[in-house]
């Protein structure tokens, strides 16, 4: 029996729980060479900024054990070009699109949200809070619950009511649960985690930092334990809030780990750099794992690892209606 893979981000239904992670699928056209993007639950765009951005100098990447350090610096075409070319291209192909936005001030996020509110084809807006707040000496919004909540509230207030606003959190926060709570109080319909923790590596031949930007974001399986911990903690504190889980998902098993921790959507990022089909493969493997364990619905597995010791799994109740 096939597993019902539908999931919800606020009021929005997605056909399945797999999306690309922000900034890991460029404009969408690149992966579309390999497969039909519409087969994913959603595609998340890179973080769109008001103006075009050239990003950081190279080297922008360094490999670390089971990880990738990157400092791209939100290179992108700016919102005008995005709305003129990238979003319509996705919309024409009926790709569910989560638009990620990044800004340096509350006003910039708000202006971006305003530009998106009438654009056709926006399934949800993900607020990338891991941007430096230029009004607070470059301190990253996501580290500060109040600053994060202010951005989220402002974006929520201008965004169309039927487009969920997702707040994307960072594991570098002192207490990810309190930032999550502030964002939800500010109006976030869902939460996304984790963005990359800050890391660094040194080229021991050149005896200099490997990245031109000195520090960068760490992604890949190396950070999965941090990501699962954040999803777990936030789901435990805010069980009703939909979570997009991500951080080092390479396989269906990894996606299942996030689902069990409490994520109802799972994003695949760095894995796409290695395997352009990673999204589809993870989806297929996740469905196989669910089926093998007797789940009929993805929804029954979300947060299941939180059940008290000794409790039977929730989906077992389904057996009453089944011939198993």
């Amino acid at each position: 029996m096939p597993v019902d893979m539908r999931t919800y981000l606020g009021h929005v239904e997605l056909a399945n729980p797999i999306t690309t992670a922000a900034g890991c699928a460029a404009s969408g056209t690149e992966l579309a060479q390999f497969f039909d993007l519409g087969r994913l639950g959603a595609v998340t765009t890179r973080s769109i900024t008001m103006a075009p951005r050239a990003g950081r100098p190279t080297p922008r990447m360094a490999e670390t054990p089971s990880g990738l350090l990157a400092a791209v610096g939100l290179q992108g075409p700016g919102v005008d070009a995005f709305l003129a070319r990238e979003l319509p291209w996705l919309a024409q192909r009926n790709v569910r699109t989560v638009v990620s936005i990044g800004g340096g001030t509350v006003a910039e996020y708000t202006a971006l949200a305003r530009r998106l509110t009438d654009a056709p084809g926006v399934t949800a807006v993900e607020v990338n809070l891991s941007c430096p707040n230029i009004e607070d000496r470059g301190r990253v919004f996501a580290l500060d619950g109040a600053a994060s909540a202010e951005v989220v509230a402002s974006v929520r207030s201008v965004m169309r009511y039927d487009v969920p606003v997702v707040a994307k959190l960072s594991p570098d926060a002192l207490d990810v649960v309190s930032v999550a709570r502030a964002c939800v109080d500010g109006g976030a319909d869902a939460l996304s985690m984790i963005n990359n923790p800050l890391g660094m590596s040194i080229d021991t031949d050149a005896m200099r930092p490997s990245l031109a930007a000195v520090t960068g974001g760490l992604s890949g399986p190396a950070i999965r334990p941090l990501a699962v911990r954040c999803v777990w903690q936030v789901h435990a504190a805010l069980p009703g809030v939909p979570i997009i889980g991500m951080g080092g998902v390479l396989t269906g098993r990894d996606a299942f780990e996030f689902v069990l921790a409490g994520a109802c959507v799972v994003a695949v990022g760095t894995a796409l750099f290695h395997d352009p089909y990673a999204g589809l493969r993870v989806l297929r493997e996740l469905e196989e794992i669910l089926a093998a364990r007797g789940f009929h619905r993805l929804a029954d597995a979300v947060g299941l690892a939180h059940r008290p010791p000794g409790a039977t799994t929730r989906h077992r109740t389904d057996f009453e209606e089944s011939p198993l």
Binding site: G23, C24, A25, A26, E30, L31, Q33, F34, R46, S47, T49, M50, A51, P52, R53, A54, G55, R56, P57, T58, P59, R60, M61, A62, E63, P65, S66, G67, L68, A70, V72, G73, L74, Q75, G76, G78, G102, G103, G104, E108, S130, C131, P132, N133, I134, G138, A212, A213, G220, P221, T270, L272, F273, H274, D275, P276, Y277
Partner: protein
């Protein structure tokens, strides 16, 4: 001189042969699907480390040769430096290898039977023979200039001698050919053969010099650049360099999809590794936050 991009494929190939060529390793992999689509200048991205590896990113290698045998084979040539290439150097016949390709913008070929100088530095020479072949099939005359630090690092001298009208070799230590760099001899070669175009592949510093020479002679130059890459398929945005577009605007373009082949004079070699202040979206031009 524009080519339409081809759709890359992911293939789990089988290693057919492994060989050492002086300082280099060469792997021939049965990789049907890649071969049909191949054009000179393409590269492949190879997964390294096997199951359970800690190495997440593919390694990029120019395609040295393709053959129709066994449904299609791809050969690439590499130096064993870091952990990924060290792993590749240990592959043996019958091992499997996961490739994505062909990738990148290939070399545009001239419509007319002109004279082309092909300049290769170190393993950069490896990709030039497919170019030479395609040029010769169009009736072009091909001359080679190959250089490296030392004799064992000059790749393909014999094959160049067979294929090229002339072949000029340089080594920095003088152990083969002329002592010096390819750019020392290139002006003489261009003048002697009355070259109409230059094709070059090698270290960035060499490409800069080759471009300067071609510009001096006012002939077109196509260069294949090499930047650190995490994906090779255009999604990670790590492989950028400043390139001047047809509209005169400098953009940070991806060397994996907009390149690796560029018109030499369009690449701002002096600014590689920086964001030039006049690049589209450069800090100061647009928003100021660092992201």
């Amino acid at each position: 001189m524009r080519e339409t991009p081809v759709t890359p494929v992911q293939v789990t190939g089988t290693v057919l042969t492994t060989r050492r060529v002086d300082a280099y390793h060469a792997l021939t992999v049965v990789a049907p699907g890649i071969v049909e689509r191949f054009r000179p200048g393409h590269f492949v991205a190879v997964a390294v480390g096997g199951p359970g590896t800690s190495m997440l990113t593919r390694r990029a290698f120019s395609v040295h040769d393709v053959k129709p045998d066994y449904g299609g084979t791809v050969e690439f040539v590499f130096t064993a430096g870091g952990p990924g290439t060290a792993w590749l150097a240990e592959r043996r016949a019958r091992d499997t290898l996961d490739l994505v390709g062909p990738l990148g913008r290939p070399f545009p070929l001239p419509r007319d039977p002109v004279t082309c100088v092909l300049v290769g530095g170190e393993y950069g020479s490896a990709m030039l023979f497919a170019v030479a072949d395609a040029l010769q099939r169009r009736g072009c005359r091909v001359d080679f200039v190959l250089g490296a630090a030392s004799a064992d690092r000059v790749f393909g001298a014999l094959r160049a001698r067979r294929m090229g009208e002339t072949t000029t070799l340089t080594t920095e230590d003088g152990s083969l050919g002329m002592r010096g760099r390819v750019t020392d001899v290139l002006p003489g070669v261009i003048a002697d053969v009355r070259a109409d175009a230059v094709y070059a592949c090698g270290p960035m510093e060499m490409l800069r010099g080759v471009t300067a020479v071609a510009v001096e002679f006012d002939i077109p130059v196509q260069v294949a650049v090499e930047e650190r890459m995490a994906c090779g398929i255009g999604v990670c945005m790590t492989c950028v360099l400043p390139v001047i577009g047809d509209d005169g605007v400098t953009r940070m373009v991806r060397s994996c999809v907009e390149g690796p082949v560029f018109r030499g004079e369009r690449v701002r070699f002096d600014d590689v590794g920086t964001i030039p202040f006049d690049a589209l979206g450069a800090p100061g031009g647009g928003t100021r936050h660092a992201g």
